[in-house]
């Protein structure tokens, strides 16, 4: 029987000619990652194993991203635990000031390449699947085992195919495609499965825009998100890759558990309402509710890339953030931060009255740098709006693309971007 891209990658990593959904395999991993929240637990479990060294220090990355620069004594202690372990083991490590969010940083520096099996102790590890790799989020214990042995147990997932025909409308981007998709299939619509994305609408999309889609596979319950490798992928990978990559194509007779087809030209700009990424509505409906807001967050592993910031900047150019609204803009990595300093975006956002910060996950998970008070409302370009996610359990988060978020910051309520242009 033919195999999907994901099945081929997994088969190649357990030395089998064929795997099928449901097979339990012990699988080699090409790269392993943990961050400052998940690494301390992973290190604790690693020590229990009685193994002295990680399987390959050049294939284990520890990235401080969530509570850095450290927000309190406890988070400083966690970052310290991770730093000392990285130093002891000689792992790939990025210090605060040279780092950023791992899901953007690692692929942009070529640590993960097409055809890899990549596991990370963070649910949004799936982001990197847009490169045609099998990227899977796991817990700290799983990652400790992968760090020690270079292997992980895995149940081969079925693959769901998502095809986007046609071209995107103006003001509709990859964020809208994935929000719309999760709204259709639900927050467990891809539970335990691989989401394979393809179609005309993705063909001209940059890898950075594609990452936004695979990023939110986590919000549909998926085990991995994957996209076929094309010229756009190779143009991204070639200048940065640290290893040889492998391109896997699906067999013509491979089996998909289901195929979902969309007419991308009919998908509207989409917003996810509190308290679920699956509670989506077209922006055209949401604006009728005249939703006033207190905060806007532009950043995160979903939409903190340079082109996301450019999209927001086009809306904010020459304008001011609405009175009584705060707008927080955070580039996802220090590389992007540096580019915004050089190309004028940092100045543009600051002139507009935004709080503009060094790279971090920041307010996305309500750790620090923009926590919401009771009753407050935020429009965010991040990926989750669960109750309490960004602060008080009675604060609300609306998820949207960068243009919609920027427009909300200018108007002080949720509006169509054209309304503020």
């Amino acid at each position: 029987m033919g195999m999907t891209i994901a099945e081929k990658i997994l088969a190649a990593h357990c030395d089998r000619r064929e795997v099928q959904p449901g097979d339990l395999i012990n699988c080699r991993v090409d790269f392993v990652m943990a961050n400052d929240v998940t690494a301390p637990l992973a290190i604790q479990e690693f020590r229990k194993l009685g193994v002295a060294r990680v399987f390959d220090p050049q294939r284990v990355a520890l990235v401080p991203s969530h509570f850095v620069p450290n927000k309190d004594i406890q988070s400083a202690a966690q970052a310290k635990t991770m730093r000392e372990f990285a130093r002891e083991q000689g792992c790939v490590y990025f210090e605060q000031g040279q780092a950023g969010i791992e899901h953007i940083l690692l692929p942009s520096r070529g640590y993960v390449v097409p055809g890899d099996v990549y596991v990370g102790a963070d649910s949004h590890t799936v982001t990197v699947g847009a490169l045609g790799a099998f990227a899977c989020g796991m817990g700290s214990t799983d990652v400790a085992i992968a760090m020690a042995t270079g292997e992980i147990w895995m149940r081969v997932p079925p693959t769901l195919r998502f095809i986007y025909h046609g071209r995107l409308n103006r003001w509709v981007d990859s964020k809208d495609l994935i929000l719309h998709t999760i709204g259709q299939i639900g927050t467990d619509g891809a539970l335990y499965a691989v989401m394979q994305f393809e179609g005309e609408a993705l063909r001209d999309m940059s890898v950075n825009a594609r990452f936004t889609m695979t990023n939110m596979v986590a919000e549909a319950g998926g085990k991995a998100g994957i996209m076929p490798v094309d010229q756009v992928t190779l143009d991204y990978v070639r200048p940065v890759a640290r290893r040889q990559w492998t391109i896997y194509e699906p067999d013509p007779d491979c089996q998909y558990a289901a195929t979902h087809e969309f007419d991308a030209s009919k998908i509207e700009t989409t917003v996810a309402l509190p308290f679920s990424p699956g509670r989506t509505a077209p922006l055209s409906e949401v604006v009728k509710q005249d939703i006033k807001i207190d905060q806007v967050f532009i950043g995160s592993c979903t939409n903190g890339r340079l082109e996301d910031l450019q999209e927001a900047a086009e809306i904010m150019r020459g304008k001011k953030v609405a009175p009584w609204v705060r707008c927080i803009v955070i580039p996802a990595t220090q590389d992007i931060y540096l580019q915004t300093l050089k190309n004028g975006l940092a100045e543009l956002f600051t002139e507009a009255g935004c709080a503009f910060s060094t790279a971090t996950c920041g307010p996305c998970l309500g750790g620090y740098m923009g926590v919401l008070a009771e009753g407050e409302r935020c429009v965010s370009t991040s990926n989750r709006n669960f109750r309490g996610r960004m602060g008080h359990p009675n604060a609300e988060v609306y998820l949207a693309n960068p243009a919609v978020a920027a427009a909300a910051a200018i108007a002080g309520r949720i509006v169509h971007p054209e309304e503020v242009l």
């Binding site: 929240v37 963070d122 817990g139 927050t187 989750r384 109750r387």
Partner: protein, 166 residues
């Protein structure tokens, strides 16, 4: 192994942000995490939970972040087992890896209310609601998962495997 305790029942999509909010992720101490277990879903949970109690919930329990702090908080709060209609995949792995028993059984979820007393037999997946005198059968664990649970979790299992190799 037979577990017995009272039910704390919740709805669908109980996510890791409400099981243990990120504002408490600056520690890995199980007892500290347990003090905030379920805080944004049910602020009364920590006061009411007794050793052996069972969390019962709808579909997609544990969705969201990969934080292992969520099953750690549940286990350290005294909960003996979670019964849900389905589990999010990372939570499922995390729970099995740390030997927190979790069972999938739609009928037991529909047939139980908060406060009911449940008896769960882990190996067979038999669930009895002692308050209502009803019985249910959960999906049995695949053999490999049962091995992990019986070994006391993935670390113990891997230690044995590595020792066997050496």
């Amino acid at each position: 192994m037979t577990l017995r305790g009272h039910v704390h029942k919740y709805g669908t999509d109980v996510n890791t942000d409400v099981i243990i909010p990120a504002r408490y992720l600056n520690t890995t101490d199980p007892q500290e995490l347990a003090q905030h277990c379920m805080e944004d879903e049910d602020p009364e949970f920590v006061r009411r939970v007794r050793p052996g109690d069972v969390i019962v919930a709808g579909t997609n329990f544990g969705c969201g972040s990969s934080r292992e702090h969520a099953p750690i908080a549940i286990k350290a709060s005294g909960v003996s087992c979670v019964v849900a209609k389905s589990f999010a995949r990372i939570f499922y792995r995390n729970a099995i890896n740390m030997a927190l028993p979790i069972l999938e059984c739609e009928e037991a979820v529909d047939g139980s209310k908060s406060g009911d007393e449940l008896e769960v037999e882990l190996e067979s997946g038999a669930i009895r609601n002692l308050t209502r005198g009803t019985a249910f059968q959960a999906k049995p664990f695949p053999e490999f998962m049962l091995e992990l649970l019986q070994a006391g979790g993935l670390v113990e299992y891997t230690k044995r495997r590595l020792a066997g190799k050496a």
